[in-house]
């Protein structure tokens, strides 16, 4: 087949690329049209209301998939094949950052030497968040820079890799930054092949693929992402929405600093508004309480504070700079709270200790400063019963806590976004929203190590999924100002695909409902169903075949279905994290292969899939037995469902293979994801 295609196609690569794109567009359009016809027929003519829970569930799941097909189709529509890169900028200054946490020194050393030997002039730095003497000695030995967190970070939130990069940005000054994970060994020409794109002064980011050299050809753990680092990123690139993937990318410092400052301003404004609103609410309660009390000094203090808060709010509305507003209310707050004595402060501290989400061990300012990021904690502050005196003390401390810097953060300006464990995507979205451009250069220019055991691989994917959902919940691309419609859809496409777990459950349970309980979700004639559905499915397969031409995409598709429990866990834990402040709840990713886990331990990791497979198999046997015994007259629905089960089993079986997978021993210790 492949040879035949080669013979028919023209030799010119540009013409080939054009033909491929044309074919893709025809297939995408056909697929979406057939999908529309199928789905509208399903909605209007086939829902079996007698079995409504599964009937509705299934049609909703099919709608999810159809929207996914649209987003995927739109991505492919603008597939951008860039070919040869432009020549590199002359005389650019470049810093190469290698981020490490506590990976084995031998692995980092190999990366560091390769980074040092990159041909284009540059400075190389090891960003060691593990602060280890062995790493420091290694950096010195091979002659590269070594950076750890500065004094300012002591006792502050560390923000994992984003924090590590932000810290390094403050200690260096190259115009461009190449970011490498500890295990990503760059080729000597990585900068020569990427710096040319920055001749366009609006370009902030050039991302190259991540590829792993320790993965066998059949890729049992699904580590390679040929569909993502290929057609998907090329498609996003066509919409100027290729995003930063954490490693193997070059960034423009000026762009990072600009979004860091813009974000600092936005954040500060929000915190000031919140502090004033909370202070106002608390003072209003205090006024009510003091109406019955004869205490002139107390009333005077509250009145003064209230006047200061309202004047500050007015200043903000008039557009006075935050510098002046905070200066004003801080001076006022300090004066107005004269009647306070140390005793009240002590009481306040005790009270704060009982508010969930606040930690009384921290110093009071840090603690209140952090509360300004969290509406629920602020709300807890206002609704609390307290004496008017304590209210004054709280307001005073709250106003002192809002400053032009953040008492709870090490650096006022954080160029890399810290709102998510996938700081890379969040940062890229802010860059795009600020009008910067990005480039995806589809050439492998660094080679890394993938996790070699199922547990590490699952943890890594859970983290990516959680991070992506965090970004969706905190900075939804559909509503972030500044993005183009295409960019919104491209970011949303990635997030949408991570919601699949819930719908896979419906797809998997539908045949069980039918074969065991006789609940048929689709009410139709077999023939009509067949002619409407099958062409839609076939064009869908063809889209994948052409988009992923010569790339092994099947493994990735298996995993995206088979990891449904993980995707569900990711969504639920991310919601808990964003709205209730619960920790994301994953253990530290092991850096060295987990040798101790025996087969049963591995299988336990995929027990939900194993149970599902058992249930599907039993349902298929049950259905076939009923058919054989003549208990079921119409055989077609049974056969369709049994066929469907066969497909599901084929997809799900990938995780069983993975659990049984034992990689060959290599001399080197193996790494997994760099950050917990």
């Amino acid at each position: 087949m492949s040879r035949f295609v080669q013979a028919v196609l023209p030799a010119d690569p540009d013409l080939r690329a054009e033909l491929r794109l044309g074919l893709l567009r025809v297939l995408v359009a056909a697929n979406l049209l057939l999908g529309f016809l199928y789905l509208s027929w399903r909605y209007t003519a086939t829902i079996n209301w007698a079995a409504w829970p599964i009937a509705l569930g299934l049609v909703i799941a099919e709608t999810y998939s159809y929207i996914d097909a649209w987003l995927f189709g739109l991505t492919l529509w603008r597939l951008k094949q860039r070919g040869e890169p432009p020549p590199p900028l002359p005389n650019a200054t470049v810093d190469v950052f290698i981020t490490c946490y506590n990976e084995p020194v031998a692995i980092v050393r190999e990366t560091a030497i390769a980074a040092r030997d990159i041909r284009y002039p540059h400075r190389t730095y090891l960003l060691d968040d593990g602060n280890s003497p062995a790493m420091r000695a290694m950096a010195k030995e091979i002659g590269i820079g070594y950076l750890v967190r500065s004094e300012e970070w002591k006792g502050k939130q560390r923000h994992a890799k984003a924090g590590n990069l932000n810290n390094a940005l403050c200690q260096t000054n190259g115009e461009f930054i190449l970011v490498l994970d500890a295990d990503q060994i760059p080729s000597p020409d990585i900068l020569d092949r990427t710096l040319g794109y920055f001749a366009d002064e609006r370009v902030a980011l050039v991302q190259t693929p991540q590829w792993f050299y320790n993965v066998p050809p059949d890729d049992p753990l699904g580590s390679q992402a040929p569909l993502f680092y290929g057609p998907i990123m090329q498609g996003k690139d066509g919409w100027n929405a290729a995003f930063f993937c954490g490693s193997n990318a070059v960034l423009r410092r000026e762009a990072l600093m600009q979004i860091g400052i813009a974000n600092y301003v936005r954040d500060l404004e929000l915190r000031v508004v919140r502090a004033l609103r909370t202070a106002d609410a608390m003072l209003r309660i205090a006024v009510r309480q003091t109406q019955t009390v004869e205490n002139g000094a107390l009333r005077a203090a509250i009145d003064k504070l209230q006047a200061a808060v309202r004047a500050s709010q007015r200043m903000l509305r008039e557009g006075r700079p935050i510098q002046e507003v905070t200066w004003y209310f801080q001076q006022r707050a300090a004066v107005a709270a004269r009647p306070l004595v140390a005793e009240d402060l002590a009481r306040l501290r005790a009270e704060v200790a009982t508010i969930p989400g606040l930690d009384a061990d921290e110093d009071l300012t840090t603690c209140l400063s952090r509360s300004l990021d969290d509406d629920s904690i602020l709300h807890a502050l206002t609704v609390r019963e307290r004496s008017p005196l304590a209210a004054i003390a709280t307001v005073r401390e709250l106003l002192l806590a809002v400053d032009v810097d953040r008492a709870d953060e090490a650096q006022p300006v954080m160029p890399l976004a810290t709102i998510s464990v996938t700081e890379d995507m969040a940062t890229a979205m802010r860059l795009h929203a600020a009008g910067w451009r990005s480039v995806y250069h589809d050439e492998i220019l660094a080679r890394g190590l993938a996790p070699e055991d199922l547990r590490s691989a699952l943890q890594q994917r859970l983290r990516w999924a959680q991070g992506t959902i965090q970004v969706l919940l905190r900075e939804n691309p559909l509503f972030v100002p500044g993005l183009s419609l295409g960019q919104r859809l491209m970011y949303f496409a990635t997030m949408w695909s991570y919601l699949s777990g819930f719908f896979v459950v419906i797809y998997l349970s539908a045949p069980i409902f039918y074969l065991i309980f006789g609940m048929l979700p689709v009410r139709t004639q077999a023939e009509e169903f067949f002619w409407r559905l099958v062409p839609y499915l076939i064009t869908n397969e063809l889209v994948f075949a052409v988009a992923g031409w010569k790339r092994a995409t099947w493994r990735g598709r298996q995993y995206s279905l088979a990891l449904f429990p993980l995707w569900i866990q990711a969504v639920i834990s991310a919601i808990g994290n964003v709205y209730a402040g619960r920790p994301l709840g994953f253990v530290v990713t092991p850096k060295v292969r987990q040798g101790g886990l025996h087969i049963w331990g591995q299988l336990r990791l995929v027990r939900l899939q194993a149970i599902t497979m058992a249930a599907l198999t039993l349902s298929a046997i049950w259905g076939m037995a009923r058919l054989a015994l003549g208990l079921q007259i119409d055989g077609i629905p049974t056969l369709v469902n049994v066929f469907w089960i066969g497909y599901d089993l084929l997809m799900l079986s990938v995780v069983i293979d993975a659990a049984l997978y034992q990689p060959e021993e290599q001399e080197q210790p193996q790494t997994a994801a760099a950050y917990p």
């Binding site: 400052i261 813009a262 810097d405």
Partner: protein, 117 residues
């Protein structure tokens, strides 16, 4: 590159700089501002008249100076910014925090106005 500073009787220190405040000079400016503040000069006015060009790293140094001044109970104001600086302040929205005062006198008045308020 070095900063030139001059303190008045009113406890306000005028800081002047020549040249570009960019990624190459930002770290040093940040350090010198920190030293000034540590030396008791808590109320600063950064005169940008002879700063021909500023980039975001330069703005970062000013924010660090502002932070250090505030922590010491003082403040940092900027004055006499040129068109390029104003454009960047606008682009990064930093003008929402740091007001670029037209003249040194206005920046100085900003201090006394609030002090007297």
């Amino acid at each position: 590159m070095s900063l030139h500073s001059e303190s008045g009787d009113d406890g306000i220190t005028i800081v002047q700089m020549d040249g570009r405040l960019d990624l190459l000079t930002a770290a040093e400016v940040k350090q010198q501002l920190a030293d000034l503040i540590a030396g008791g000069h808590r109320r600063l006015i950064f005169d940008l008249d002879r700063v021909g060009f500023i980039d975001s790293s330069g703005l970062g140094a000013l924010i660090s100076g502002l932070k250090a001044a505030r922590q010491a109970g003082g403040d940092l104001r900027i004055a006499r910014a040129n068109q390029q600086v104003r454009a960047l302040l606008n682009l990064t929205m930093l003008e929402r925090v740091l007001r670029p005062y037209e003249t040194i006198e206005e920046a100085r008045a900003g201090y006394s106005q609030i002090a007297a308020d």
